[in-house]
């Protein structure tokens, strides 16, 4: 069971997901030791190619790769404007010539990691492409979910916020469903797509969603679009309708509902300060597990070699 690339969750089998989640466990145990490094990828090169600004995901991958003893290079690409596909294609030839073993790519455009993966021998890991997929986030979410629910099948996960633009919502929903978790989405009608998988429940009312009794609530970072046609009137109105306010938090904590978030959080928008101190808030744990999950992915993928080309 091996793959060259990790581009999305859809194409992973249930077995592959379970395997990766199992692999992440031992890597996480390393973190408590004084020496956190293993020589698994010694002599291998990892290149990060982030066309979108990111500190958390980029750092997480860098730490993961370094703990596997890989050599990590950050390929400096402009991320101010939308990078056209053509210039990405030109970059691919450069990358191929560098003979790097792993490429970790993030881009505003959906499908760019796939386009790169098709053209290079290196293993490509999608670190987020447009609103399409963010598979390592989904794996760390699944790993975290399984830590608190070792038997995830039949548990309920409610994802709240801007589902429409969220690659996290897509990938995490897909992975959770493959683990047997029931998934529902909650948010304003303009941000909860009507064309999602039929198995995913769709709520636009907070109270209705709570009647569904989720075991965990996954909050997405919410931002006002800077574009011409807004998706909701104001952050204040969003918070009043869908935010975890103090009042809503009280009821959630009474029921022992877990809270997740891909970070970075907007305090006072999708959640209130109290949530961050809550013992069932998994946000910090998600960050730690992110490194373990990404180590498992890097360890699992197998780049092509030049000799593979001759087959």
């Amino acid at each position: 069971m091996t793959r060259k690339d990790l581009l999305d969750i859809e194409s992973l089998s249930h077995e592959e997901i379970e395997y990766l989640l199992d692999q992440a466990g031992p890597f996480k145990e390393l973190f408590t030791r004084s020496v956190k490094k293993v020589p698994a990828l010694k002599g291998k090169s990892v290149l990060t190619l982030f066309y979108e600004p990111s500190t958390r995901t980029l750092s997480s991958f860098e730490v993961a790769a370094k703990r596997l003893s890989a050599d990590v290079t950050t390929f400096d690409v402009p991320h101010s404007s939308v990078v056209k596909g053509e210039s990405v294609r030109d970059t691919i030839a450069t990358l191929q010539a560098m003979r790097t073993d792993y490429i970790i790519v993030r881009n505003k455009l959906a499908g760019i990691p796939l386009a790169i993966a098709r053209e290079t021998r290196a293993s490509v890991i999608n670190a987020g492409d447009g609103a399409h997929a963010h598979p390592t986030q989904a794996l760390l979410d699944g790993f975290t979910f399984k830590e608190v629910f070792p038997e995830p099948s039949g548990k309920r996960l409610l994802i709240v916020g801007d589902i429409l633009h969220s690659r996290v919502a897509r990938s995490t929903s897909t992975l959770m469903r493959k683990l047997g978790v029931e998934v529902a989405w909650l948010g304003p009608g303009s941000l909860v797509p009507k064309h999602g998988p039929a198995e995913i429940k769709r709520f636009t009312s907070y109270d209705e969603a709570m009647k569904w009794s989720p075991d965990a609530v996954y909050l997405l970072r919410i931002q006002m679009e800077r574009q011409s046609a807004p998706f909701f009137p104001s952050l204040r109105e969003y918070t009043s309708l869908y935010g975890i306010t103090q009042e809503r938090f009280k009821s959630l904590s009474d029921q022992g509902t877990y809270i997740m978030h891909p970070g970075p959080v907007n305090r006072g928008v999708e959640l209130c300060d109290e949530v961050m101190e809550y013992e069932r808030c998994l946000i910090d744990r998600q960050v730690e597990n992110g490194i373990a999950a990404r180590m498992a992915v890097l360890y699992w993928l197998k780049p092509k070699t030049v000799s593979d080309d001759k087959d």
């Binding site: 596909g85 959906a110 499908g111 386009a115 447009g130 609103a131 997929a133 064309h195 046609a229």
Partner: protein
Amino acid sequence: MESLLIKKASIATEDSGDLVVADILVEQGVITRMGKDLNVSDAGKTLEAEGKILAPGMFDAHVHMREPGQEAKETIKTGAEAAINGGVTGVVLMPNTSPAIDSSAMVRTVQDIASRDARIPVYTSGCITKQRQGKELAGIDGMLKHGVKMLTDDGDAVADALLLKRAMEYASEFDCFFASHCEVLDLSGPRALNEGVVSHRLGIQGTPACSEEICMDRDIRIAHAAGARLHIQHVSSAIGMETIRWWKKMGASITAEVSPHHLLFNEEDIGNYDTSYKMNPPLRKAEDNKALLQGLKDGVFDIIATDHAPHTAFEKAQDFVSAPNGITGLETAVISLFHYYINTGEFGWDLLVKRYSSEPRRMMGLEPVSIAEGKKANFILFDPKGSTSFTADYMCSKSQNTPFLDQTLDGSIDLVVLGDEILLER
């Protein structure tokens, strides 16, 4: 060309689904005799055509040949050869070249290239607005004086409704008609694919069908008010088709076209970002395929047109959003429509002849091609028992951006004759 005798061909016409078996004799580019078991002893060339279909040469009223400006994708020469390869003996070019065809000078330039390079009649449409910018009217009278009949900013709608109305009122006095690419840009997003399950799965903002339907309805209303004749291009949705049906019932002076790809494919075919299914308007849903086919059978659609849109392999190999819209169609239309519809009994040769040969010519003010004594030879010979593999070698277009690439379908075009010339013989 020496005289040509074709024996026992099954003649397809627009009037009847029944094929009549006959021999035809072509002398000096004209069908001089036609009938059962012709007694011709001195034919220069004789072809046995038993079981083969002899149909009028097709006519595609929606074609991009990219010249001038984008000759890496296609030229009038390669585009015309692609047409011949697909059994098409006449085309109408869209004016979105670079520079755009928006003046008599540009019309003449294209006509000069065509008369030098093309072995079939090539007509061109002209822009409604200068450089398709939607700001100022193009030199309409000059273009019409050089034979332009169709005015269109194809590739874009004329966003300014008042400007479109003025153009239609102005030109209503001339012998011409308008053709609309229907789209409300504000609703379209990045113009990549239909808004639906696939756009959600792939994480790309989709273009809802209402973007097309609203503009279609708008343009018909404006044309109706202005007294202009209007043709609706590449209708992709069920509601769009019903919109046209309703307006025809209301007596609006409109025609409409459907493309083979909107009949045959839907958004699910995009799979994992396959750009050979990316075009504008985008592929919609399976229900839309069904509705469009019904619209074609019911005569809601006057013509079939391919929107032949060549792009280089490099451009199409980009990510789905960046890759350009459009697929080639000239070489695959007749064979794919035969394979999926005629061969399965969905419709007969009469429909194909009517919608892809006669009606588009009538729309352009040309005499439809008929297979009859005294008529100029303009026909194809099609072998329903043959097969065609759409390999890169098979295709004459400079570009191979078609979903049919490397597929094998039933049927083959064995002969194309136009006047005194055998344009193709396989």
